[in-house]
């Protein structure tokens, strides 16, 4: 019915006593997510929104039988929080934190290769299975349940596309924001693979942007491995070469790959319909279904 998260997902919020942590834990609970614990060193025994807080993620996971965590701790402590989550162990870790040093993430990436836990993010809005569970900071109200999977590197662009989908009555199975950082846990190929394997997902929207080669790799994967139809969107067609635009990933080196042209061509070759506007994306999905 969805990928990665559903109504049975039992969530620990790391950093639940912080401003962001407390606010978004509340939003997640209000959305219906089963937030079972918080984890904050030195704050064990307290409660936030009625949820018990533990000193360590391991204890939280053990005592509350959790299987996922959402990381909402400041960037200076985020890598350690991720290492902790990966060693607790959990099935899924969603890192919202923006601004984690790249070398920290490189070390986390190494550790990820040694464990079975899936990481989504960092610097991402999280993921949501509409009507069941929201792990992150996405605005739950714009989503609706349905059969369209969505994966995106960008936060507000995701919301825009979801808005266009929902306007046409096209609900989502699960929407995953994979994050715009140079080093992330779950990439397009991973997410597409999950949707391909999900019987409840009948079409997938993939929102990419300039920089890196993830979209090119995704196109190759779609071409060779996917039967579920995919509609694509690439932000940054008009970005001039060599200019950095916000996301660390969103820079075009001008050397052929990483440009919008390269990505769109690769997706075209893989049989992906690429929309020029978010509205066109939604229209293309409607046509497919």
């Amino acid at each position: 019915m969805s990928v990665l998260v559903d109504e049975d997902t039992r969530v620990v919020v790391q950093g639940i006593t912080g401003g962001e942590g407390e606010f978004h834990a509340g939003e997640m609970i209000e959305y219906g997510t089963d937030v079972v614990a918080g984890a904050v060193p030195g704050r064990g025994g307290e409660a936030v929104h009625g949820v018990p807080v533990y000193d360590t993620v391991s204890e939280a996971a053990r005592e509350e039988d959790a299987d996922a965590s959402v990381v909402l701790v400041p960037p200076a402590f985020a890598a350690d929080a991720l290492f902790e989550a990966l060693d607790s162990p959990l099935e899924l870790v969603v890192a919202i934190t923006e601004g984690i040093p790249t070398q920290d993430m490189s070390r986390v990436h190494k550790r990820l290769s040694e464990v079975d836990t899936r990481l989504v993010g960092p610097n991402c809005p999280g993921l949501i299975t509409p009507g069941e569970a929201k792990l992150g900071i996405l605005p739950g109200n714009i989503f609706s349940a349905g059969n369209v999977g969505l994966v995106s590197r960008s936060g507000t662009l995701t919301y825009q596309v979801v808005d266009n989908l929902t306007d046409r009555g096209l609900g989502q199975s699960t929407a995953i924001g994979i994050g715009g950082d140079p080093i992330i846990g779950t990439d397009f190929v991973d997410a597409l693979g999950l949707f391909e394997a999900d019987p409840a997902t009948d079409a997938v929207v993939m929102c990419g942007e300039i920089g890196g080669e993830d979209e090119e790799e995704a196109a190759a994967f779609i071409g060779s491995e996917m039967t579920t139809p995919v509609v694509g969107f690439i932000a940054g067609r008009t970005a001039p070469p060599g200019k950095r635009m916000g996301h660390a990933g969103a820079i075009v080196s001008g050397s052929g790959t990483g440009t919008a042209e390269s990505k769109i061509a690769a997706l075209d070759d893989a049989g992906v319909s690429v929309g020029d506007t978010p509205e066109e994306v939604a229209a293309a999905v409607e046509e497919l279904l």
Binding site: Q103, L138, G155, T156, Y159, I183, I210, G246, T277
Partner: protein, 396 residues
């Protein structure tokens, strides 16, 4: 954050890497006295953070006082790819038999650092990479272990470095990696690493870019940051904390989230307009940030109309609308027409309370962009900016 060559060299020297004798000079007289103390011949090098300084006339060799005066005079104050040269590094010129390249960076695709050596140093390494990738030996490093000595050796032998200096170059690569790691660098490069007559190696240039996200744990490096923007608007935007890139069109763009702002640029282009800028206002949209964003965009004389596109997300649309209204209150009359589109949480409520006397409101992104493009086109002949807009148009 990019360090200047002279700053990077100080850190390199501290780490034990050999660098030429040098000192910074801000005037021709300074440059001359430094040249004398360092000893001729000297290299006089513009300290601006752009690549290709040599080709652009930013680096000159001087054999004597007369040449040093001419070079310093020419370089100090010159415009180098849009940056004014305020300082030069006056450095002992190195007699060399060979020029190598040594670098460390993050391979984003692999999620691991990569250490590189090439025997084709002294030229644009990106061209080498594109034309003869085999000329660059690469070693991916496990970030948990750091670089192993054997990896440094393998890179050096793999690059075909002369065996007389292979051990030294391997040592340089190891030191550079350690420095890269310790300083949370994004890139650390020596190009060229000069092989001297007596089989030593000297870092003749130095690049060290620090990961902005890691500056919090390097207060000493953060203190080295010097504002060096190519243009006043970019400087102002930087001071306000916006991600801002100035472009050449006449449709100003403000939005939240890099992907959505880029998409707005793309839509302006799609509907026949030309983006004047990329401006990501970031999370929330309090009155002050809105006012600052409008200040930046209105200050661009190329701009003829502005599209302001916010997708509320967790931030509620009514709050954003109040921020916009407050910001608009400061203007008697807006310098350019502004089209606002709010979406997401409480967008409807937000749209209702927007001060539509001063701004146009559109319900959809497409509608807002089309309206802004239209407004920019119709005001194209305005006295304040028409000429420049035309120029902008021609240059594309």
């Amino acid at each position: 954050m990019k360090l200047h060559e002279y700053q990077a060299k100080e850190l390199f020297a501290e780490a034990g890497l050999a660098t030429p004798d040098a000192a910074l000079a801000e005037s021709v007289e300074d440059a001359l006295s430094t040249a004398e103390s360092v000893g001729y011949p000297v290299a006089i090098k513009a300290q601006v953070q752009v690549g290709g300084r040599g080709k652009a006339g930013g680096i000159e060799i001087a054999e004597n006082d007369r040449e040093a005066r001419e070079a310093a005079d020419a370089i100090l104050g010159m415009d180098l790819k849009g940056y004014r040269v305020d300082r030069v590094l006056v450095e002992a010129a190195v007699d060399f038999t060979n020029e190598l390249y040594v670098g460390v960076t993050m391979d984003r695709g692999e999620g691991r650092p990569v250490a590189m050596v090439s025997s084709k140093g002294g030229v644009d390494i990106e061209s080498v990479a594109a034309e003869s990738p085999g000329a660059i030996a690469r070693e991916h490093v496990d970030p948990a272990f750091g670089i192993h000595p054997y990896q440094a050796r393998r890179a050096v032998y793999g690059a075909g470095v002369d065996r007389d200096v292979a051990g030294d170059v391997a040592g340089v690569l190891t030191t550079l990696y350690d420095l890269w790691e310790e300083r949370d660098a994004a890139d650390a490069e020596i190009n060229p690493l000069m092989v001297t007559d007596d089989e030593g190696v000297v870092a003749a240039d130095a690049v060290l870019n620090i990961d902005d996200d890691a500056l919090f744990r390097h207060p000493d490096l953060a203190g080295m940051e010097e504002a060096s923007y190519g243009d006043d608007l970019e400087r102002t935007a930087g001071e306000y904390g916006f991600d801002y890139v100035r472009l050449e069109g006449n449709v100003g763009i403000i939005g939240n989230g890099a992907g959505l702002v880029m998409t707005t640029l793309d839509l302006v282009d799609h509907y026949g307009g030309e983006p004047a800028n990329f401006l990501d206002i970031g999370g929330g949209a309090k009155a002050e940030r809105v006012a600052n964003a409008l200040d930046v965009v209105f200050s661009d004389s190329n701009v003829d109309a502005v599209v302001f596109n916010i997708f509320g997300g967790i931030t509620r649309g009514d709050e954003v609308a109040r921020g916009i209204n407050d910001a608009l209150g400061a203007f008697e009359e807006l310098p350019n027409p502004v089209v606002v589109r709010l979406a997401g949480t409480n967008a409807v409520e937000g749209m209702e309370i927007l001060d539509t006397e001063k701004i146009d409101v559109e319900e959809t992104l497409e509608g807002a962009v089309q309206r802004a493009v239209e407004l920019a086109g119709s005001s194209g002949g305005g006295a304040d900016s028409g000429g420049e807009t035309a120029n902008g148009g021609e240059s594309r």
